[in-house]
């Protein structure tokens, strides 16, 4: 099951955005709307002034003064006004009728929100006497011109349109930063590759633990392979041109010099053999590298392979069989592609014999390690410096003093072993070099 870190990240971001938007409209939008239903401070002072006048009239002139003021206010403001005492009775000379008395049950204070929402009626505002509130109050139906306008379309646009749009813009920016900026970096890297700038440093994006990080890793992997194969191509070109020109030069010189026919023939034979071997090895390696063929494996008895190889090696090197011992028994059977394994072992064996002293010994030993056989080929040569143990497997890499050969044997051996699910590496055996082969054991024993 694949993890989807980016999916969860995006989902979380979206959820947060939605919650924030709801919260904003709920609390802020609502409070902005409510705030528009209150009387402006100037209007409050204006209305409070009426109560002050009423108190003065009550104290100075009694019921008649109150009645005069009430009538004046009613005509001036074109509304209904009542001035009432602590027991909700009229302080003026006209008593309240039943309808008017019922209005006193819906009174609002000056600092309450005002609207015509209820029964499309202007609200009744009760304002206590400022000096002695216990003496009475002025009740006035809010004059039409003082009614707060409520939410204007413009505030509506701002609270429910502009603010969410800004928030969405922020979300968009966050998404862009998170998703597209890394992609832009990847594109820059690809452009660099296209411009043959193969050595630019790796992407920091690889550290990300999500899909984009994986993409960056895959991209870097590709870049590394590209670099490797280009390097290899250059090396191949350089080596081939050198290794083919040299024998051709020798042939031309031999042809131009007055050699006897038989000698010329032998030279020709030798040079053609060398060139053929180089070509075959080069093509083998290139084939293993580029095609990565699926090699059919079968149970292989390592002892028999060794015996077959030793037979040829003894012919070639003149070593007696006793100096090429195999300490493996008949139980050592590996799951391998016979020809490739034999080719790899032959290359290792040739290499070992070439680097051994004239009376040296090359032995093959091995032991079982779980589902694998760990084979070990030891020689008594000079060995290899620790820091060059890996380099000897590089194609065309010839260490100083390694004599003949094109530096392809070990590279081919490693490719062949790896294609069969095995491993090949080297260590120093003190004395000599020890080549380790790890191959899957065959299940048939």
């Amino acid at each position: 099951m694949r993890r989807h870190p980016l999916l969860w990240k995006l989902a979380l971001l979206q959820v947060c955005f939605c919650l924030l938007l709801t919260w904003l409209i709920w609390t802020w939008g609502l409070s902005v709307e409510r705030s528009t239903y209150f009387l402006a401070p100037a209007d409050r002072v204006f209305l409070a002034g009426f109560a002050e006048q009423a108190e003065q009239a009550w104290h100075a002139e009694g019921a008649d003064g109150v009645e005069r003021l009430r009538r004046r206010l009613e005509t001036e403001e074109d509304t209904w006004v009542a001035i009432i005492g602590p027991h909700l009775q009229s302080l003026g000379t006209t008593p309240l009728n039943a309808d008017e008395a019922s209005r006193l049950t819906f009174m609002r204070k000056l600092d309450w929100p005002m609207s015509r929402r209820l029964q499309d009626e202007l609200p009744y505002v009760s304002i206590a006497f400022p000096e002695h509130p216990e003496d009475g109050r002025l009740v006035i139906q809010l004059p039409e011109h003082l009614l707060p306008t409520g939410l204007t379309p413009w505030t509506h646009v701002i609270t429910h349109g502009v603010a969410p749009a800004l928030l969405a813009l922020l979300l968009g920016l966050a998404l862009y930063r998170h998703l597209v900026v890394p992609l832009n970096r990847l594109r820059d890297r690809a452009d660099a590759l296209r411009a043959d700038d193969l050595d630019s440093p790796g992407l920091p994006l690889q550290e990300r633990r999500d899909e984009l990080g994986e993409l960056a890793q895959a991209f870097e992997h590709m870049a590394v392979r590209l670099r490797k194969s280009l390097d290899q191509q250059r090396l191949l070109l350089r080596t081939l041109s050198h290794e083919l020109r040299t024998p051709l030069a020798r042939l031309r010189i031999a042809h131009d010099s007055e050699l006897p026919a038989e000698l010329l023939r032998q030279r020709l034979d030798r040079e053609v053999d060398d060139m053929q071997k180089l070509l075959e090895n080069t093509l083998d390696l290139a084939w293993l590298d580029t095609e990565r063929p699926q090699l059919a494996t079968e149970p292989v008895l390592v002892l028999s392979v060794w015996e077959a190889l030793v037979q040829d090696s003894c012919f070639e090197s003149g070593w007696p069989v006793e100096r090429l011992p195999c300490l493996l028994g008949l139980d050592c059977q590996v799951q391998a592609h016979l020809d490739s394994l034999a080719q790899a072992l032959e290359n290792l064996l040739r290499n070992a014999i070439r680097h051994s002293p004239a009376t040296g010994r090359v032995s093959l030993d091995g032991w079982r390690e779980g589902a694998f056989w760990h084979l070990c080929l030891r020689d008594q040569g000079p060995g290899v410096a620790e820091d060059e143990l890996e380099q000897i497997f590089q194609p065309y890499r010839r260490l100083p003093g390694s004599g003949a050969g094109f530096g392809l044997g070990l590279a081919i051996a490693r490719r062949a072993i790896e294609l069969q699910g095995g491993r090949l590496w080297a260590s120093n055996g003190h004395p000599g070099l020890c080549l380790h082969l790890l191959l899957p054991a065959s299940e048939s024993v």
């Binding site: 083998d284 392979v305 034999a342």
Partner: protein, 230 residues
Amino acid sequence: MPPKLLLAEDDPRLRQDLEQHFLRRGFSVQACENGTQALNAMHQAPFDLLLLDIMLPGIDGLSLLDELRRHQAVPVMLMSALGAEQDRISGFTRGADDYLPKPFSLAELDARVDALLRRVALDRRPPTPRNACTLTFDTANHDVAQHGQSAGLTGSEYRLLLTLQAHPGEALSKAFLYQSVLHRAYTRLDRGLDVHVCNLRRKLGAIGAGHLEIQAVRGQGYILVDASSS
């Protein structure tokens, strides 16, 4: 009656040299420069051996081979300038009796041609087991036994011993042994035969028949020597 050879090779110099070589060896040779010519020649007269280049102008060697296999069982040897291993693993050589990667030496060509012609002759007259010395051949189970002890040979190992034993004292080439024992073309990296020989030696030794030595002859192949009879 000289063996009749059909040669299809597009490179004129190589074709001429090969033709001259086979004529010197006493073959009757018909050389063609492309696939169409070769196909026509094949329909006109029977041949003992076909030597085809894989990459031919017109009909290529592989198509020619497919076409041919529908009618005739004549032995065919393919020549190719592609890599031997690549060809073999990608199944290019399927249907051919032998396969010769370029470049090859004339000596190798001769050995291969001889092995192929010889195998064809042998196919008409399969080797009969001769119960030499104390070894008994069990033709039904493809095994051998000495003093009642059987060696437990595989089919290939049995055929190998039988073939070697049918030609005592004669070195049999690897090309021939691959043809007649393993029924496949021999290529440079093929180690199958060598490993079978090693297994066979060990199994013979295990039943006390170590006097039958399978010796490798450098550059020629394998020979069976009965050490007890000399």
